[in-house]
Symmetry: C3
């Protein structure tokens, strides 16, 4: 592996990418996305400008595991107008105003009757909530509680110009082949309309991570899936059941732009290599972070971590779902997102990949006593000095390369950086003192 592409050098590009990622969040923000429809396709097309995506469509009506792909939903307009024809609630002002997957409607009705179709947040009276009804045919409007209270009694015109038609669920995939067909999977959901942290942040971090990995050599094959939440990962899992044994590690990468510290939710297995690697990467940032055990709710980790699949897929985010006041409201705009947060998130992902890339298991060829490192040019000249860090790394790698411990294990046990451990392993391999475990 050439020095330029050495895994731990990959991180240097990340600080400069905060601003481009934030610009991409702003560009994608206005688009009305859902679990199906043209908004998703447009989003994937734009992401495809950053990194080549293969587009996939799963037809409405297709059975995926216990679920069925629903009809495709598209919307042109939606509003509530008062008697004078003023749009008092308007989809064109904010696409959160229409409940996702609302059936078409064109009617006049008194406020009393309309109320059962309205959603607002009394506790956060200035914010529009985000609501959907994918699998139950309904229509509705979301509005701020102040708006709602201001609605005068009387008749209103209600229009939702939407369609529910046989179409397809769209997802995009970027596969970066490595020298091995063992895979690292990244999944990020694409189904939320104008919500920035949830989850344009995850989309842009995955896009730029894929772009970065596409520019360097790597051992693992990396697969990035940009698809809707729940039904998207179910569709993907359903179509890739034969393929799943190749997935060695995975991350659901979402909510990566806000100012909270990084947060890792462990895979269902809890002590898988991905769990240890992410914990290590977060610890090495030296910044506050959180590690939480698996739970069967949240985002798509719940599908990858269902008992039948039980894949080693954790979740990296900053805030958790329901974890910040702007969550699932009109306040989740690009203002919530910091370029530095995006680049720090990206860097953590890169470090995770670099650590996975550089992990390996070796066997010491001189396991009885220490080899005489000086004979191999690996020892300081004068005895009696303090032990240099480099030599310390050599000794750790030699001692624990007993066939049971990988370089990650050795880094954990020794407290050394992965970079130091990998450097020592390279030197020992070159000296013939270490061979890869067959």
């Amino acid at each position: 592996m050439s020095d330029a592409s050495a895994p731990h050098a990959w991180c240097e590009a990340t600080p400069a990418l905060g601003e481009p990622m934030l610009a991409l969040v702003r560009r994608l923000f206005p688009i009305c996305r859902s679990i199906t429809g043209n908004g998703v396709r447009e989003t994937l097309r734009i992401v495809g400008e950053v990194v080549p995506l293969t587009m996939h469509e799963v037809a409405s009506g297709t059975r995926v595991l216990d679920w069925t792909i629903p009809k495709e939903w598209n919307i042109r307009d939606g509003y509530i107008a008062d008697a004078r024809g003023n749009r008092v609630v308007d989809f064109r002002a904010n696409n959160l105003h229409v409940v996702g997957y609302s059936t078409p409607v064109r009617a006049r009705m008194p406020l009393d009757q309309l109320q059962s179709h309205l959603y607002s947040l009394p506790e956060q009276p200035d914010l529009i909530p985000y609501r959907t009804s994918y699998y139950e045919q309904r229509w509705g409007f979301c509005l701020s509680h102040r708006q709602r209270l201001a609605l005068a009694p009387g008749d209103y015109d209600v229009v939702i110009d939407s369609t529910l038609t046989d179409g397809g669920l769209s997802y995009g995939e970027c596969v970066l082949r490595g020298t091995s067909d063992e895979e690292v999977l990244f999944y990020t959901h694409t189904c939320h309309p104008s919500l920035a942290n949830d989850n344009l942040s995850g989309i842009v971090v995955c896009a730029y991570l894929a772009r970065l990995l596409g520019s360097v050599e790597h051992r693992y094959t990396y697969r990035f899936v940009f698809g809707p939440g729940t039904i998207g990962s179910l569709a993907w899992l359903s179509r890739h059941q034969e393929h799943l044994p190749k997935i060695r590690h995975g991350l659901v990468a979402v909510l990566l732009g806000d100012r909270a510290g990084l947060r890792y939710k462990q895979s269902r297995q809890g002590d898988h290599v991905i769990d240890r690697v992410v914990a290590r990467v977060l610890r090495q940032t030296g910044r506050p972070h959180t590690i939480e055990p698996f739970s069967p709710y949240g985002y798509d980790e719940r599908q990858f971590g269902s008992p039948g699949f039980n894949l080693p897929v954790g979740r990296l985010s900053r805030s958790a779902e329901e974890g910040y006041p702007e969550y699932h409201t009109s306040a989740d705009t690009p203002v919530m997102i910091a370029a530095e947060a995006l680049s720090e998130s990206l860097r953590a992902c890169v470090e995770v990949c670099a650590t996975l890339e550089s992990d390996a298991c070796y066997v010491n060829t001189r396991p009885f006593g220490e080899p005489q490192l000086g004979r191999y040019g690996l020892y300081r000249k004068a005895g009696g000095d303090a032990l240099p860090d480099r030599e310390r790394a050599l000794l750790w790698v030699l001692n624990y390369s007993d066939g049971d411990h990988s370089l990650i294990d050795i880094a954990e046990r020794s407290g050394l950086t992965m970079r130091a451990v990998c450097g020592a392993a390279d030197d020992l391999v070159a000296a013939g003192l270490l061979v890869p475990r067959s």
Copy 2:
């Protein structure tokens, strides 16, 4: 199982039972009990008014494991009288005054000679100690240290009108058959004379627990044994060796009436289901409590937990043995006992039984991804809302019903109440999404 008999509804009866239990303590208090004799029979007869007991007798001289059932001891009277015939120490005033199992005596002797037969507590000069000599033929008197110091030199008449005859060791048993022949065992000792907390409290809690369980449907067979300490459990174990494999869980239930927090001593195995269930029940009381590891002394848990039997039997008490100043003295009277303490102890026992009853191991019939709960009527209507607790419980139960985790495991892992987890399991079974593990 009908709703009325649902395990977690059983607890509602307990608060009202505090006063009746305390009344029973007061009624049993004056009786002179020992490891054998008519006082025990009378005690069991009265307990039999609360819950039907089968009486058992093991004849004196019967070999039980490494021990032999001793002769039966009964006592009519006992006193020390001074030269003027005044009873200065009188069994009729307090049955603790005569050392348990004292051989008969009728003699006159000077104080000097009498002293070697007297027991008192210099550190607690107002209290009469409790002493016995079951396996060594002796006689003696217990008295307060002040009484002892007040004894004037001179001759005393010493009378103990007791008998040691071939008879039997008595214990009572209440077996409540469930739908399964797997058993939960409760053992409480009956051998202490006028001591209230040790152990009339345990006797009344077991009696009322049996009465409560007798009024509801249950899966486990519950067996309550009211017998003397050590020799009683040894006799029972000796006679039930073939039966022991049916015992799935057990508790020695003693010292349950004082005002200390509940205290659980783990079974010898330490991590058995009973240990986890009691810990969970105590935690959920939200009140201070103690959990301690097994030790091979204390009460009858030491026999159930001897290495040859090694049964999953823990011990529930409030204070520990030797754990309160009134322990084994004349101050352990019904004044020490609080009705609320008895009912809280009873409630903890009921909760333990309810938790054991409701535990089960299921298998998810749709383990690949989440089932579409909405199709089964198990999902909230509008997406985007915060996750309701009920749905959270459904997801936990689905995800961990992989054949390796019981409902108790799932409750522990999720932090949900057993009630929530069981409710979710019931709903999922009804929907066909869960089946009992075969």
Copy 3:
């Protein structure tokens, strides 16, 4: 085992041995030792006055594992003299002045040229460093940084009157045969010149420990090896490969004279009996101490703990290597050593041996319920009393003598002293209630 030689009585001799050990440190201090040569032989000869040593020589050129025994080094004189013939650096004043294994030299050179052969400590300007060059042919002088700065420009006469000849590596061994051929190994390094704590302290503690053990009966065979660091343990391991399975426990005993608290470095296995025993002994001192995990550097524990050997050998010291400012400098003199520290270190070693000696695994012959201790004369007479400690120990030993737990396990679990547990076991064996596990 007679009472006089009971393991736990061995400790009584240790306090009186602090001063004799310190006197021996002072006597050995002036000798110029290295990994080979006459200084080591003289040191071993003097140690042989305390305890009989068998001397071994491994010839120069002998292959030992990945290493080769170097030529033997001896030195008569060495100095740097100024133009007026004044010795400004003089081996005779302090043997640290000459780099260990310096090749002979006799030359005149200007200060500029001499500088590359000089070693000093700018941060500790008054101290002479300790340096060696065993496997690279060089010569050099160590001096205080103040001395170095005071050297005037100009020519200097440089003389090292050393020899590097075919000879041998010397080590001494003391083997104390026990009733079993299972061994406890002690290793201490002998290769440092005038450094007191590192490691005359280890040498004298091992010598006096061997002397003490030689005067009592014991079960284990104890083997003490006094040899040079690294190449010495490698040579010993290389020659004893067939023998290694007999080594049940081991300690590298070094740096045992300074005033820091005792410090234990675990064996590579980390949870071996030796690790638990030393931790227990240190805990029972009631004094501050440190326990650290294995790491593959330090002293000879790194050879015993190399992955091919993986022997259960920990390390007992006070300070760690590099752990005190005087480490590897001319300030590591007998002034650093406290007689009380030496005797406390010796006592800890004795306690470790005593604990290992007294450990055993027994089986309860009456495992079903408790045996009736009173029948065996092992029970207090009157029931009702508080449980005496002696009886508590009997119950712990009976309950856990199930074939899976040794006396050390029982001591750990019960919190009782090893002395109490062993005493109980002795009583139970005498009563026929316990038999050694076959």
